[in-house]
Structures are given as structure tokens and as C-alpha cells.
Subunit: 170 residues, 2 copies
DNA sequence: GTGGAATACGAAAACAGTTTTCAAAATCGG
DNA sequence: CCGATTTTGAAAACTGTTTTCGTATTCCAC
């Protein structure tokens, strides 16, 4: 059993599906298809993990340097509204966006040392939450569980950390 | 069994203890005791629940209208540093502060309708998290679990909501 | 008590992340 | 391709929070 999901290859078909789904959403809402929006969502869905606005903007600018913050923010809001993307906040003050998985809901473990964000899912945990809510006459719409701590595999951890520093510098 | 804690009366002795503990902290750090800090912590510990900076400032101003944001922020940071208070963020963009309970750690249920924040604690939930972390070679320092949803007791819920609107208006 | 170094204060400016404004540009149904 | 409507990018505004700066306060040594 491996509850932490391995990084997966980008599935081009899945990306195309999502682009189509977004296009349909746009049409349904009577909005317009634009070059910028297409660039942004194409970029977003080809990135993995928990993307901050800045990270996304940086990538987007490689394709079209004239795209600015505002459009990225606006497009991300649309993506969230469309249900294709979820917004998360891990307490460092910035919003992060995550392609709404086709697979089940998941929670997060965040290493405070290397900054890695692991995903996990456990049905017993979900069931227990439901039970507790039930007992308190409360109906859960959504929940958030985050475990903050440290990787025990110190080697892998410091390797990730080093890589991150390099990225920030370069 | 009633996992949701009832609102408790203010225990003046406990408040005094905390004030003393903070005074000791201040001394230990070589900082100074000031009228403003005393007012702020006295006010804070007599409020219950998850206090935002603005809520606290409003209350503080009743005792001393000349106290400003900066001092409240600074004092809250000291309170957090002292370990007497915990900072929480529930995703509405503002920090909330909570007197560090003498009782066990707890999690939160947040009603998206009336805004009430319920506390709960369940040892099985804690144990399960530990187990999952173990399985993933991860060490938990702290965690956060928030259930967002709605009270099923609609009457109590809308009553709270009404009260909140009145408060905001008056 | 008083002097004086250290700290704290309050107001306002700075700040970071995000949202809004506005005039110009792009979209798209007719 | 017209024209109503939407979108864009740059810049300004906004929000919650932090920092700055000159003045005031604390408090230890005397």
C-alpha cells in the first residue's frame, strides 16, 4: 500500500479533455474564448502539483510575455468556478491551485523542511469525520486536513530542498 | 458524549494565571511591561472563541481608545510566541487568535451559514493520523482539520446568524 | 527619586497578495 | 464586417499585516 501518490506523467488526453471542459464552461456562461485564456489553461494543466499564481505567471510568460497578473488571476477564478480546479491555502499567505483530480478527494502532508507537499487519502479517516459530524448534528460540505511536519527520509528531503534553492536562484 | 465543547464561563482565576504567565514571559525576554500590553491581554483573555484582530481592537478601544492596530498586532505576536495563544486561519483571509487551551488539542467545524466555529476532539482521529504519517515515513509536528458545512439545527443556526447581523450593524 | 539606555508607542507609510478600474483591443452573433 | 459585449494589460485600489520613525515610556543604576 502506498497512500502517497507518485508523481504522474502528464496525460495529454486528460489535458485535452479538461481544455474542452473549460471551453464548454466558457460557452455555457456566454463568455468569450481568448488567446490568453487558452494559453493560461494549457499551461496550468501541464504543470503538476500545487501551483501558485506567481509560478503560473512565470510559465505563462514563456509562451506569451505580454500576459499579466490580472488575467492569470481572473482565469484562475474561472477555473475554480468551473469546478476544474481547486484553490488551497497552506498558511504561507498565498493561494495555490490544483487541478481538480478525477480521482478521489485527498488530504495533504506538508514537510516544513523541504516544503514538499504529499497527497494522501484514507477512507477510514473520511468515514470517521462523517461519523463525528453526524454526532454533532453537522453536515460536512468539504473538509481540509493538513499534517505539518517533516520527512523522515532526511536524504531525500535535503535533496529536494537543495533543488528548490537552485530553482529559486537560477 | 458531547464532543462539541459548550461555551464556558470566564474563569477569572485562569485569566489571572495567564496574565502572570505572560508577565513572566515578558520579563524572561527582557521586554517591558506596559499599560497597553496589559490592557490588550486582559481584554483578549476575557473574550472567548476565535478572535480576529479587528474584534480585539474594538474591545480594546473601549478600555483605551488611543491604542492602535500596530500595538495589538505586536502584542498578539508576543502572545503566540509565549505559547499562550494560537494563531489560526480559516480561509477568510484574516488571522484569528485563540487562547491556547489547557485542555487537549482540538479541531474545528465551521458552519458556512451562521459562521459559528465549533470545536471537537476525537482520539481515534488523532491516532489514525499518526498511523498514516507513520506509514508514509512522515513525522507530524502539528495538524489542522477543518470541517466546513452547515448546522443541521436550522433554528439555532439562523438565530446565531441574526444575532451576528445585529452585532455588525450596532 | 533621577538620568539615561533600551524598549514601546501611535500614526502613517510600506508591503504582499489580490482585486478592481479604465481605456483600448479582441471576440463573435447577426 | 458591424456593433454590442467581453476581455485585456497597466496601473491604481484594496485588505490585512508589518515596518518605520519620532516621541513617549519603562526601569535599572545610581
Amino acid at each position: 500500500m502506498a497512500p502517497v501518490k507518485p508523481k504522474k506523467q502528464i496525460d495529454e488526453n486528460l489535458v485535452k479533455e479538461k481544455e474542452t471542459a473549460f471551453a464548454e464552461f466558457i460557452q455555457r456562461k456566454g463568455l468569450k474564448t481568448t488567446r490568453q485564456r487558452n494559453t493560461i489553461i494549457a499551461t496550468f494543466f501541464r504543470l503538476q502539483g500545487h501551483i501558485s499564481v506567481e509560478e503560473l505567471l512565470n510559465e505563462v510568460k514563456k509562451a506569451n510575455p505580454r500576459i499579466g497578473y490580472a488575467t492569470v488571476y481572473r482565469t484562475l477564478h474561472l477555473l475554480v468556478e468551473s469546478g476544474l480546479v481547486e484553490e488551497r491555502r497552506f498558511g504561507d499567505g498565498l493561494a495555490r491551485y490544483e487541478g481538480h483530480s478525477d480521482v478521489e478527494h485527498h488530504d495533504h502532508m506538508i514537510c516544513l523542511d523541504c516544503g514538499e507537499i504529499f497527497e494522501f487519502y484514507n477512507p477510514r479517516l473520511e468515514a470517521l469525520q462523517e461519523k463525528l459530524a453526524e454526532e454533532n448534528d453537522f453536515q460536512i460540505y468539504r473538509h481540509r486536513l493538513e499534517l505539518y511536519g517533516a520527512c523522515k527520509d532526511k536524504e531525500a528531503c535535503s535533496h529536494r530542498k537543495r533543488k528548490k534553492v537552485e530553482q529559486a536562484a537560477g
